[in-house]
Symmetry: C2
Subunit: 493 residues, 2 copies
């Protein structure tokens, strides 16, 4: 047993992160700038990297280093946690054959492209064969990984370690009536608000200027990140000091790109706040998507859709966009928090958003568990949507083709959005109990809030479970009442 067994293990695992982060860079480029005809070769580059990363993460050397580190004397709890998580992940990774990893990577590059085309034409049949294949891979992986109750457990674990499908299902069942009632009341109130108050002419360059000012003001470090344009906003990490956000622009409505940027900046602040020196190790990465989404939703909704935020930023926005000058803060707030039923999740307001998630969770769970054939997805989606929202998607683009996730092989992902909403409300409520933080929020100075998040969430990294982070930061497990209270106050009260 060499004295530095732990360091050797870390070096090896960091090398894996060189490969996975390189793949993320290629993927970022594919979404932002890559020309169309480059796709086939790009898919080959990425599947090579996936395969090599997986081989490195599961090979004999990794096994040997893990055993050595487990048997060696570790310095502290962090090292112990890292070894524990690496061991768990190694077990999980080693169950997946290398060729399946390569196959999945190659498939998703093409599936993403097929999805974009299918969505454009609103033609589910163009995407169905890809979804069939990716679902097949997801189910094979679930079988290889094993699961407690149902295949969906194994996939959910990828995004939210330590969370069972039936717990989520029970939580969502309990929430559904209350969320439905809140949405109904919010939409009724929304009908009394003028929908087009902000329609105007907002040149992209000026939107970019305002978005960048705001992102910087809440703490996003542009020397360690940037914002680009994509069809679907996202945040991706290309290195410990390289966080790429994206948004999209509506030249008739500046809030579309801005709330996208606030949301992705929330993700970005989390990534920029992780322990830099631990990049590549469990302790240097985000804990789970439910925690990640808590950060994006906190900044987007609890901060970005609050009156105190716009007390500061509406005057600045009006300097940049003259047509905002005659709009009163009160009317502006009513407009950006106007609720209505809509077909598209990413455009949904806070009061109706979770219903979109509940729907997806149910559809996806049935799909993954083998109770819903791919061919029947559009019909099942539309039926459930009609039941929940009282209106029927006019086509697949407004229904089951709208989300990018499945095309990326991201099955088991959706539930984390609502978990994130619950965590966001709970974290925000806890933080603002501190006078300095509350006082800062009142004058749109978020440095104290960010410092609290850095200390209580970001710096904890990912060698822990999401539940532990919530316990550490708020003294309690995830509890829906904060989110429901927030929604009632904003949309019903």
């Amino acid at each position: 047993m060499p004295a530095n067994a732990y360091d050797q293990l870390c070096d090896h695992v960091r090398e894996v992160s060189l490969l996975t982060s390189t793949e993320s860079t290629l993927s970022w480029d594919q979404e932002t700038y890559m020309p169309a005809k480059a796709l086939a070769f790009r898919a080959r580059q990425m599947s090579w990297l996936s395969g090599k990363a997986h081989a490195q993460a599961t090979g004999r050397m990794m096994q040997k280093l893990l055993v050595q580190a487990s048997e060696s004397k570790l310095n502290d709890a962090k090292q112990a946690a890292n070894v524990r998580v690496m061991t768990e992940e190694h077990e999980r990774n080693a169950k997946i054959p290398n060729r399946l990893v390569i196959e999945e990577s190659e498939l998703t590059a093409h599936a993403k492209h097929a999805w974009v085309e299918a969505r454009k034409k609103s033609d589910f049949s163009g995407f169905a064969p890809h979804l069939e294949k990716l679902l097949g891979i997801a189910r094979r992986k679930a079988d290889l990984w094993g699961y407690a109750d149902e295949p969906y457990d194994a996939l959910l674990h990828t995004y939210e370690r330590g969370t069972r499908t039936r717990e989520v299902a029970a939580l969502f069942s309990k929430l559904k009536p209350e969320l439905t009632e809140i949405a109904r009341a919010a939409v009724a109130r929304g009908k009394r608000v003028k929908p087009n108050l902000l329609r105007g002419n907002y040149p992209v360059a000026k939107q970019q200027q305002l978005n960048a000012e705001i992102a910087a003001s809440i703490g996003f470090d542009f020397e360690a990140g940037r914002i680009d344009t994509t069809a679907h906003p996202f945040c991706t990490t290309l290195g410990p000091r390289d966080i790429r956000l994206t948004t999209r622009y509506d030249e008739k409505d500046f809030t579309s790109s801005l709330f996208g940027v606030l949301h992705e900046s929330g993700h970005g602040l989390y990534e920029q706040g992780l322990p830099e020196d631990d990049f590549g190790l469990p302790s240097g990465r985000a804990c789970s998507l439910g925690i990640h989404e808590s950060q994006s939703r906190l900044w987007e909704n609890h901060v970005g859709r609050s009156t105190s935020f716009w007390q500061k930023w509406l005057p600045r926005a009006a300097e940049i966009f003259p047509n905002l000058r005659k709009i009163k803060l009160e009317d502006f707030m009513a407009t950006i928090n106007r609720s209505e039923y809509s077909f598209i999740r990413v455009e949904a307001d806070e009061a109706t958003y979770d219903l979109h998630i509940l729907l997806r969770f149910e559809i996806e769970r049935r799909m993954v568990n083998g109770d819903l054939p791919v061919a029947d997805v559009p019909e099942a989606w539309n039926a459930l949507f009609t039941e929940m929202f009282g209106m029927t998607p006019p086509d697949a683009a407004h229904g089951c083709l709208q989300d990018i996730h499945w095309s990326m092989g991201g099955l088991g992902y959706f539930a984390t959005y609502t978990l994130g909403n619950l965590n966001a409300a709970q974290l925000f409520a806890t933080a603002r109990k501190q006078k300095r933080i509350a006082a800062g929020i009142e004058k749109a100075d978020y440095a104290p809030l960010l410092a609290w998040l850095r200390n209580n969430v970001h710096s904890l990294g990912g060698a822990t479970l999401p539940g532990d982070i919530m316990q550490h930061a708020t003294g309690k497990a995830t509890d829906a009442r904060h989110h429901l209270k927030h929604l009632r106050e904003r949309f019903v009260g």
Copy 2:
């Protein structure tokens, strides 16, 4: 001997190209979009890829596959040429230890950054230690590779296979008096041309629009490439259908970005015209930098600075930029072909350009061969510049710090610019002997010219020597008289 030994070899070599093209993608991102703090991690990613690619290109498997392929029956001359070039390159690569490749890659990422900073401050001492290290690596590589006459031979071979330093030196010595005389006459004539005729206000977005129209019109495929913005224009290949050009913008002068785009489009057309299915093999890549540069200079200078080109494009440019409307074609042509002595190579006009190259070749050769210590480079540069141009660089930024090449480890590179100029003139003169091509050129229709270049240069790939390409396309080895004739006609005649 398996029947498919050649195919196996090609598969292996194509895998190397997955790695090197991925490294190119990271490098492109570093130059275009990467945030500043991401540098250190990016350097690690790139050196990992360099090391892995080198290991794959020199390992036991490669050796075995090369032997098998050499001993197998090959289908045709192309296969034989590929095996021959791969064998030569393998021999060369195998002489360099893997750790040196990794060291060089890591060094250059940091050296590039140091160069940018040093150039900004015009402080050679900030860059000198990096140059010292890179020069050390270059000389170690030259020693390992071996050379016929002098260390510089080994480096020149990297960029211009089959060319000796003393041949280039002899050629340049012969050219120097004539080029000096042409430059003197051109500059004298340039003094009679108003220098600021085109100064105006050219918004970047509108420059981009015109540049893209022109690049597309000469045949650049934007579905297999794009144009971005960098401090120093370049063209890089990220995949067989993924050619990235860059340029930079001067809002007071639209021709700066446009000639940059024409130049890089020339490189890009060559890359887009290489045999796609052979990507990663010698037959699927560019032959040499002297051939590459012939393509960029042909489109930039022989096409882009000709009267027939602007007969078509000046009216279009004037639609986009109103201040051009009152400018006569004749005055416009005199302005864009106005010659003057200047300190910066990349801004030099055609008539003085080669003098900059002759200077660099001489300085660099002495440096590489050990006759000029790094510390003495600024003084030597300025002395030679003063002798050749009759004026002295005011600082290092306008002298020996101006070029990016050394910071990238690109020692031995500069001579290929003048070789490219000679080849460009010779290829253009040969092509336009054909009536259809000449007629096309007269009306700014370059499809016949491009078709000729595709057939006679691009499709030949790189399993051949630059001299063979010139022979094939023009019936002769590189001959300076075409270039001198062209310069005399344009600048003296």
